[in-house]
Symmetry: C2
Subunit: 478 residues, 2 copies
């Protein structure tokens, strides 16, 4: 069977993904090493995700602010684990002027900075410095801040959405008086991320704590939400960190308690990024292109009038009217009256994953009917219904689709999570080419053998099992 | 009379402005040279401005996208005027890794980039490169793109909101088949900016074209919206550029016409930034702090229960209920039930410019009344009204205030725009310490004398008069 995307997922998942991004017009590699350009259709998806996430974050009493893009190296250097974790991928600003020298435009040597800056890979340090001034008394706590910004981590093996040198994200930074409050907060934001992914992106997640080796550089606990892609690989999509007093001590975030005594505060940080879009695309799409959950679809319905020359005007007007009625029901609708051929339009919007396709021909217009097709089911869902029925039930159809997509992904995940009794069983399963997540007892006495197996199959520890933290999930990962 | 901000505007406008920013908790200077941190209250104002501007831009058929932060120097160098205009303030990224050398963390010499990047000061170049690939045929035109991003221009004399090394803005970039369409578009976005400032920010603007000397580096025409601050100085707040074919030719943006022939396209670009916030603050505020137009006030109404110990619970609950009713009317409300003293709360929200202050004491609660005060008028507007009346009329009060603030600023502007007949008259007026905008015939035969006068009084050409482009406005400026 001919598919819109070649190769298919089964043939070459990785190439399929690259071609999907192109076919759905989401993004492209830019002339800047490791950086992508997010095209309008991709950015429209991100805006929907961002607005919904922002609403949920604000509902937790978090306020948005905006901190500088550049970080003085001395700040960055204050927390030892942090700098060790990020120094190897930091973009460094060393000059502030260009000059034509020998016919070539280059950094003006006279503009060399005595203290270079790095472009933020994350902002614990510069926000920590601000908080050390903003937090004075227990009355200032908790202090909850977030920012939606771009960050940069020089990536050697970039991949669109999944791993790019520059990416867009939100990073939240909260301060508390006690460790308990901070830890509760880190877990609360962890839960918020999981809810967002499940309810909005229709992606079931595995929640758990990272093992010490996989923690954020400078955290006491890192909580992660792991997604399982269709090829069985893991995608870490959102993390929340209990930072203990690492940053409070490095930056002097202290508060005067009710008792009048000065004490170090406890901080958390938590972030989700455009990386989630990679997870969204790799979880739901098929060999014909993108499939978007209605909640984050820029157009939830596309109306395609199938015109002949003699009926075009009337039909286009009819389609426009129907579009307005569906918009009045709160639905994002595109009426495609461009001069492309109808089958080309159809394929364009299939590839772009519009949840519901509505086609109208002249005869249907006269009969007061339309043909609707759900993108996730395809031709088996194709049916002719009354225009009025569509208007009355469109929101239900979209809600059903949102739920069905989550259920389908959950059902697939179940087939991809495997319990293994011991390292030999894990070795056997991986050796036999089994894909997915493997749940195994995390026996610290066999770490060396564990590591050898991870090296052999290029798998990593994803997280401890929240239900029983003596077990760990391991998988290949993005 | 004691004022909340010292010095007052009359005593020292410039210091007053700095202290206003602190008193209203809007922003602070950051440890990064020339960069500010925008605090939650300031950022909340920006979010309201951004969302409204975004809506208006999208209504013009413009789509948002996201282009890289970094620009290869070779791109930047392709348009001669452009590079001359921006090279002197470009932050340059030269390394991609840090290393501990002699006990000091510094750029790793082994990570030196053969082609350095600059942090975008504006994105005509990198977007031009993309458009050269995206635009193929007349069917692709017009192409209308915008992005909301941070940019960087190394500033030697930074000033919060008005002139910072890093700032947030939207930059629109449109492509057309003909020069006429491009010019119409540049003027249309110019008008959109003026409408936004007048309708949303309540700031009357002077619209006009920049003289050749003041044009954007690489434009054929630059249209500007100039605001008049309370000290008579000009603030350029939004510009729209007809770029002719400068960037189309530098980057090869060509399209195949209906006739099958390849032709260079015509481009525009247009931007507004966080700088507008400086104009907002300097236009409306007074010696007691900020005054926010309701359209961009994070809280349009603050309710302050004036509690005694025995009535606190009932009164706070009453205030919360009133808050909910006003929210149901679509108003952004804060009920301040913190444990500050009532007069301290009052001054806090006066300084932060909340449009309408509502105070309730126990006796008023019993009588079903509240005391309301409009921030722009102050004590003369203080009156006791029924709670039901407040709920019924709050939107009207806010709408009146929005209009009155615009009218007040317009009336003041009228006193600040002066017609002068010739350079001698201009010299006399400025010598006598007159402030504001001076409108004078732009006589190209006397440019040398004109320039000498501009140098003498540190004034600049702001723009030609749209009503009669033989005249030019000159003024001191931010």
């Amino acid at each position: 069977m001919k598919t819109a995307i070649t190769p298919t997922r089964a043939e070459n998942f990785s190439e399929w993904y690259q071609n999907l991004i192109v076919a759905a017009d989401l993004a492209e590699n830019s002339p800047v090493r490791g950086c992508m350009t997010i095209k309008p259709y991709g950015w429209a998806i991100w805006e929907l995700m961002r607005d919904e996430m922002d609403k949920r974050i604000k509902a937790c009493g978090v306020q948005n602010a905006n901190f500088p893009l550049l970080i003085p190296i001395e700040f960055f250097n204050k927390e030892a684990e942090h700098v060790a974790g990020f120094a190897k991928e930091a973009a460094v600003v060393t000059h502030y002027r260009l000059k034509m020298i020998d016919g070539q435009l280059q950094p003006d040597p006279d503009s060399c900075l005595t203290e270079p800056y790095i472009i933020r890979p994350t902002s614990e340090t510069i926000i920590g410095e601000a908080m050390s001034r903003w937090v004075q008394s227990y009355r200032d706590l908790p202090m909850k801040l977030n920012q939606w910004v771009n960050v940069m981590r020089w990536e050697m093996r970039p991949r669109m959405f999944l791993r790019t040198a520059e990416f867009n994200w939100q990073e939240g930074h909260n301060v508390f008086a006690t460790h308990e409050e901070a830890n509760v907060d880190a877990r609360k934001m962890h839960r918020l991320y999981a809810d967002f992914m499940e309810q909005v992106l229709a992606i079931p997640v595995i929640m758990g704590e990272k093992t010490p080796e996989e923690r954020f550089a400078g955290a006491d606990h890192t909580y992660t939400t792991e997604q399982i892609m269709q090829d069985g690989k893991a995608l870490q999509a959102g993390t929340s960190h209990d930072l203990g007093q690492h940053f409070a001590k490095s930056f002097g975030i202290q508060y005067q308690g009710i008792d009048g005594k000065l004490a170090y505060a406890w901080t958390t940080s938590w972030g989700t990024s455009t990386r989630m879009m990679g997870g969204l695309f790799m979880t739901h799409s098929d060999d014909d292109g993108l499939i978007l959950p209605p909640a984050v679809a820029p157009y939830q319905i596309v109306i395609i009038p199938i015109t002949r020359d003699d009926t075009a005007d009337a039909l286009n007007k009819y389609a426009d009217d129907l579009g307005d009625k569906l918009r009045a029901a709160g639905i994002r609708v595109l009426v495609d009256t461009t001069d492309m051929r109808a089958p080309d339009k159809m394929w364009k919007w299939i590839k772009r994953g519009v949840p519901l396709r509505v086609e109208i021909g002249a005869r249907e217009m006269d009969a007061g009917t339309v043909t609707v097709t759900r993108r996730d089911i395809g031709r088996d869902s194709k049916r002719v219904i009354g225009t009025d029925e569509l208007i009355a039930t469109a929101n239900d159809i979209l809600r059903d689709m949102q739920r069905d997509m989550f259920n389908a992904a959950s059902a697939r995940n179940k087939t991809m999570i495997h319990d293994v009794d011991n390292l030999d069983a894990l070795d056997a399963a991986l050796g036999a080419g089994k894909i997915g997540f493997f749940r195994i007892k995390y026996d610290l006495t066999t770490v060396a053998a564990f590591d050898a197996l991870m090296e052999k199959y290029k798998i990593t520890r994803r997280c401890l099992d929240d239900a029983d933290p003596e077990y760990v999930f391991v998988a290949k990962s993005y």
